[in-house]
Subunit: 207 residues, 2 copies
Amino acid sequence: MTEFNEKQIEILQVAEKLFADEGFDGASIRTIAKDAGVNIAMISYYFGSKEKLLEALIMYRTSDMKMQLESILGDDLPPFDKIDRLVDLYINRINRHKCMYQIMHFELSTKKRILSMESFMNVKKENTAIFRKIIQEGQDAGVFRTDIIADLIPATVMGTLVHIRNNRAYFEQIYGFDTEEKFEAYMNTEVTKHIKQTIKALLANEN
Amino acid sequence: MTEFNEKQIEILQVAEKLFADEGFDGASIRTIAKDAGVNIAMISYYFGSKEKLLEALIMYRTSDMKMQLESILGDDLPPFDKIDRLVDLYINRINRHKCMYQIMHFELSTKKRILSMESFMNVKKENTAIFRKIIQEGQDAGVFRTDIIADLIPATVMGTLVHIRNNRAYFEQIYGFDTEEKFEAYMNTEVTKHIKQTIKALLANEN
DNA sequence: GTTTAAATTAAACGTTTGTTTAAATTGTTT
DNA sequence: AAACAATTTAAACAAACGTTTAATTTAAAC
């Protein structure tokens, strides 16, 4: 299902931004409609309800990750280089869809909404499986340690990134960033370096 | 300021749970009042407004962290043992006040509310400074690497923890946890091990 | 050009929201 | 016991919410 037309995509994009800025409850149908340049009734008309709009949004965004992971798995690269590419992939995705991740992590943790868990979790499971294969390759090659908990590595990568983004105001203040660009530069240099360094240190086999 | 009487504390505790379960906008003054066993008007009467209730809540919870950090700094322990105690401290705090962290990380990242940033950030800054001292000790002793970004370590610890808690439904499903206890046990064993292992690997000086 | 379906609109629906009011109750002081 | 302040209450407030309706415009099909 779910080919979206131009107007629907416009609504999804506006909703993504507003949900992230003001939360699901905080963003009103009226504001979304106004920003998207459509009538309020169009949202019910296209998506059924506000809640189903959120579901559509999540599915709209969590579709292409699998492909990119498989691309890395298939590449002919040394294990540690694959880790570099993996971290870059996560960072790029969170940078590109920062609004989305903000919404997801809040709405998924809320007890009020159940969302379309099944389909969303299936995507996540598939992604975890591919990630584990990449780690397994490095372990089989004797390059990575085997006494680690591979399933928790994505949690550390994404958790660190999301945490720093959520506390952006704090980092901006202690480092004196006065523009958005400076913060983004910090994310792309220092933070990226820290995460790669951390994951590689964890995986490194001290033979 | 801010000694709270029994009734105020009751309201704060109920608000903490409801804000975390349903979000700031999702939790209504009426529900909070009902669960706390007080009249709706009492919340305005005691705290002024719903927003000020949130501020009071955050301040109420972010007061004792500094003391505990200083306790670790003052202890006479080898650097790596201090890391163990640090990670345990973070984990215990997030376990104990999981509601609080859920609220904070969402409300701080939202553009709608500005909160009482100044006082809250000052607490955070002080905590960061103490943390850095603990790392510095290990570096001075030649046990820790010096080419690391110490400021980002707490982000990795807390980010990993919060991320896993937020995606609890996912982990429950892939590991087949059917009770709250099993998930909490997982947090206290595997996740704790993973985080300690990761941070220690990052800090370890390969001499 | 007529007919049928899809898209779009403005208006209204009934709830729920946070907050305020003004009266009633309780507690404390004199 | 009287007087005063602090607490607690039920009721009302206007505003905002998500959704629905029924009428209108646009597009497609015949």
